[in-house]
């Protein structure tokens, strides 16, 4: 602390004041006294601001801490789903039963052929010591129930049937998958495990022979839902979400922009307009499940639209996003300086021309940002979509807006509910996919805003 | 004039108009004076009458300059040299108008002398004095037109000649009046006429001071050399 001589120039002025109006205290004290008092109080003030900083830092650390815990949990649960266990089986495909006269694969024959049986039989050959139906069934459970279908797809994709025995890699069952990834506890009591002791023995044998491997789980990204976790993927859910969001944007954006323009420029001031404005703002806070109920009652019940369709899902989400976009649009329109509007009107442009030629183009970045944020919100909504039925078990990737579909967050919900451990890790991976989409959309919104921000 | 032009062309035009009006007044005043000095010798009555009646024109022109100067100040808010230009124009106009008045006075008195039939007093230098005063006016108005402070200062110093001539003339006339009492009336008028011419010389220096003020922003510092000793003449 250093002492500064502030001088006493103000003293005379203050002394005259104090003598004429009788004001006592520090105000009329000489400068040195006042400055000493202020300096003394400075210590307390600095301590208070340090404390405040500390609280702020603690709050941020706590928030980031929770975020880290969340992300760590999800990632640690989900990253293993990126891999899928496959088992090597030597199979000889009987060409005669698959091919037609020309030597090409006959689709009919292929469809009717018992691929699953072929796989199982071939697999059993590796374990000649396994006899007895029960045991053999137990052995077969080590492979995926859809292994036969997988093999058929491999053969059909290749287009030829090789002669003689060939080693094929087929998917293991989800229990083996979990075992391989170390997610199954081998030490607990057999009755509490899904893998029985004999299966463990066989598993170890396969591992010892190196007939088992982990490959990238492309099924997750290319297939729709399935009963078997190893055959389940999010493609159906992603497409369903995408279709629903397209409907949302196509419906919500024009309606919201037009509503905002009307409210800003054309609505006559009065009770009715105030009423509308208040309600638009309130709608933004309504719980999303209420919109689901609305969709259920009106779209499905009254209009009889197809259940589980992305069309209906999109409409419900559009209603939900409408207030967000209206509010963002109004804020952007208001940010356009009124001088532009005056200039356009002064030249003889009609209010509509002014809005279309000048105001909206300048408000566009803000509108876009608001829309992206609204879409990002809608992407993560589960409750309203459940209400209108996009929660069914759908095995096909939806091809149109009226096909039954499901959405990504709903898929996550369905999977997280199931008993299989493998679905748990897959739902964590799906959450990571969803988070990735959300983060990239928000990033896009930030970048767009930065790029188009104009300084007036 | 070598100065830059104003962005407002109307402003330039106003100042130019003002300047031209003052020049016109100057020409008129000088012409009046010239004619009056000549008429002293010729004693031509018609000319004298014309001088007297022309004086109204000078009054009108001075009023117009006044009006214009007020207008320029009110509407253009001139500053610095522009402001000095307007103020100087006003001042010079007043001086020129009074010069014209003196010319008229000279004409009036000449008329009286002529009508009384008195002869001119011999050995009179008054024409010469009038000449010098006339030249001073010419030169100082030229200095004003060109914003030439050097020329103005030179005219300013020249007034001493007029003063000398006036003092000499004064003594001469007194001597003549003492010698011949019949010449007293004429002599008295002549004394006044000479005084008027001397005053006109002073006016020319006044204009010179204004030109100096216009160019440099201040009147000349040194005091002007004066040599009018007529107030000290006691006896013949």
């Amino acid at each position: 602390m250093y002492h500064v001589n502030w001088g006493n120039d103000m003293n005379e002025h203050r002394n005259t004041l104090s003598s004429s109006s009788g004001v006592a205290g520090l105000y009329s004290a000489p400068t040195d006294v006042r400055m000493a008092h202020i300096a003394a109080g400075l210590k307390k003030r600095r301590a208070a601001s340090r404390r405040l900083r500390l609280y702020g830092i603690m709050a941020i650390v706590t928030a980031i801490g929770f975020l880290c815990i969340l992300l760590t949990t999800i990632i640690s649960n989900g990253y293993t789903a990126l891999q899928q266990t496959e088992v090597a089986v030597v199979i000889e495909v009987p060409a005669g039963e698959i091919l037609d006269d020309t030597g090409a694969i006959d689709a009919e024959k292929s469809r009717n052929f018992n691929w699953a049986g072929l796989v199982k039989r071939s697999f059993r050959k590796e374990f000649p010591e396994v006899t007895g139906m029960l045991e053999q069934r137990s052995l077969g459970e080590l492979l995926s129930a859809n292994a036969g279908y997988d093999l058929r797809l491999q053969i059909e994709d290749a287009g030829v049937v090789p002669t003689g025995p060939v080693t094929y890699w087929v998917k293991a069952s989800d229990d083996v998958d979990m075992l391989m990834k170390g997610r199954m506890d081998r030490t607990i009591d057999e009755k509490m495990r899904r893998i029985k002791d004999d299966q463990l023995v066989w598993f170890d044998k396969i591992v010892a022979k190196d007939n088992i491997r982990l490959v990238f789980n492309s099924t997750f990204f290319t297939m729709a839902d399935s009963r078997e976790p190893e055959s389940a993927g999010v493609l159906g859910a992603i497409v369903g979400s995408a279709l629903a969001l397209i409907v949302t944007v196509v419906l919500a954006l024009p309606l919201a922009v037009m509503a905002a323009v009307y409210l800003e420029y054309f609505a006559p001031p009065g009770r009715l307009t105030d009423f509308i404005e208040v309600n638009v703002n309130n709608l933004a806070a309504v719980p999303s499940i209420v919109f689901g109920l609305l969709g259920l009652a009106v779209f499905l019940g009254f209009f009889g639209m197809p259940r589980s369709a992305p069309l209906v899902g999109g409409m419900v989400l559009a209603l939900m996003t409408l207030p967000t976009i209206i509010i963002a649009t109004r804020a952007s329109i208001r940010a356009v300086p009124s001088s532009i509007r005056d200039a356009a009107l002064g030249l003889g442009a009609s209010p509509m021309q002014t809005a279309l030629d000048h105001i909206l183009p300048l408000a566009a970045p803000g509108i876009l940002t608001g829309t992206i944020i609204g879409i990002a919100q809608a992407l993560g909504e589960t409750a309203p979509l459940i209400m209108i039925g996009m929660v069914a078990f759908i095995v096909d990737v939806p091809a149109s807006f009226t096909d039954p579909a499901t959405a990504l967050p709903v898929q996550i919900y369905i999977w997280s509910d199931s008993a299989e451990r493998a679905f748990y890790e897959r739902s964590s991976l799906a959450i990571m996919v969803l988070l990735l989409f959300l983060i990239s959309m928000n990033l896009a919104a930030v970048m767009l805003r930065r790029k188009f921000e104009k300084k007036w | 004039m070598e100065e830059q032009q104003h962005i407002s062309t109307a402003f330039d035009k106003d100042l130019l108009a003002l300047n031209e009006m003052v020049q016109a007044l100057g020409s008129l005043a000088i012409a009046q004076f010239e004619t009056a000095i000549d008429a002293l010798a010729t004693q031509h009555l018609a000319t004298l009458d014309q001088i007297i009646s022309n004086d109204a024109k000078l009054d009108d022109l001075e009023a117009a300059i006044h009006e214009k100067a007020v207008e320029v100040i009110a509407l253009r808010s001139p500053h610095a040299k522009d402001l000095r230009q307007v103020l100087v124009a006003l001042k010079i106009a007043t001086i020129l108008e009074r010069t014209g008045d003196y010319a008229r006075n000279i004409a009036n008195r000449t008329k009286v002398i002529t009508q009384a039939g008195n002869e001119n007093i011999p050995g009179v230098n008054i024409g010469r004095m009038g000449q010098v005063a006339q030249e001073m006016l010419h030169d100082v108005m030229r200095a004003y037109d060109r914003h030439d402070a050097e020329l103005a200062l030179e005219v300013w110093r020249r007034d001493i000649e007029v003063d000398h001539m006036h003092t000499a003339f004064y003594k001469e006339v007194l001597a003549s009046m003492a010698r011949d009492p019949n010449l007293v009336a004429t002599g008295a008028h002549l004394l006044f006429i000479a005084k008027n011419i001397e005053r006109i010389g002073d006016y020319a220096t006044g204009i010179a001071e204004q030109v100096h003020f216009l160019v440099h922003g201040a009147v000349p510092e040194d005091s002007r050399p004066k040599a009018d000793r007529t107030s000290k003449v006691v006896g013949v």
Binding site: P269, D342, G346, G348 | A74, R76
Partner: protein, 260 residues
């Protein structure tokens, strides 16, 4: 052009008993004037005296403010501009406006000037539009400075240039009357002088009404001046008379800087 000895033409605009209300509050009280054609008339007065409000009556910009109500008549060419039958959009093609803060559109210089003629359909093809743009920029004294960069953004110009661009934009529509609401208050003295000189040129073609809070500007630029105070017209007359011998005490007090 000498700003003082202009012969007064026939009156172009005749406001008659114009009053303006914002809700219940009255901002202008029964103003009547005769505005001369092809000359500059200035409105002066302290802040809040109603001069800008009055100016905006001439192109019905007050319509944009919801609570604003204009009573009285404004006669131009035997038509009352204030009548509800008049379409403001049409009116604004005849009465142009330049605002206090230069407000070019965030588009190119060419597009700024072309916008007005475009929406009114004044150019049949590209050549005609090019001509309109060039002519307007020339009349606004800006052509030499921007002729080689018509496709640059208008916001890259200096303040004074932007305001001249706004003037060019207004006159591109070919109005009879130009309204200027404190056009120089956001500009430095040199830019102001340039625009005042421009106004002197423009008055040969347009009837100009200018609101200004600078009395010196009104003195320099206008032939007639109207002094407003608290919504009333106090005095209206030749600029020269107002600034040398005003007839009203209040006018005298304002001009000499004795009141707000």
């Amino acid at each position: 052009m000498d700003s003082t000895t202009k012969p007064t033409d026939a009156s172009k605009l005749k406001p008659v008993d114009v009053s303006v209300f914002y809700g219940e509050k009255q901002a202008l009280y029964d103003v009547s004037l005769d505005i001369d054609a092809k000359s500059v008339t200035s409105f002066i007065g302290p802040s809040g005296c109603g001069k800008s409000t009055f100016l905006r009556c001439f192109n019905r910009m007050n319509d944009v403010i919801p609570s604003c109500r204009v009573e009285g008549q404004i006669i131009m060419d035997d038509v009352d501009l204030n009548s509800p039958k008049i379409d403001p959009v049409l009116l604004r093609a005849r009465v142009g406006m330049v605002f206090q803060k230069p407000n070019p559109f965030p588009k190119t210089i060419y597009e700024n000037v072309a916008y007005g003629p475009r929406i009114h359909g004044l150019a049949a093809n590209r050549q005609e539009m090019d001509f309109i743009v060039e002519d307007s920029l020339k009349k606004a004294g800006l052509w030499k400075e921007v002729s080689d960069r018509l496709n640059d953004q208008a916001t890259g110009l200096s303040g004074g240039q932007q305001q001249r661009l706004c003037i060019a934009r207004a006159i591109a529509v070919g109005p009879d009357v130009l309204l200027m609401d404190e056009p120089c208050s956001a500009l430095d003295p040199i830019a102001t002088s340039i625009i005042e000189e421009l106004i002197s040129d423009l008055q040969n073609r347009f009837t100009i009404m200018i609101v200004t809070h600078s009395m010196q500007q009104a003195a320099r630029v206008s032939q007639k001046t109207a002094y407003f105070h608290l919504g009333k017209l106090i005095e209206y007359g030749d600029t020269k008379e107002i600034f040398t011998r005003p007839q009203n005490e209040q006018t005298e007090a304002y001009i000499s800087g004795k009141i707000g």
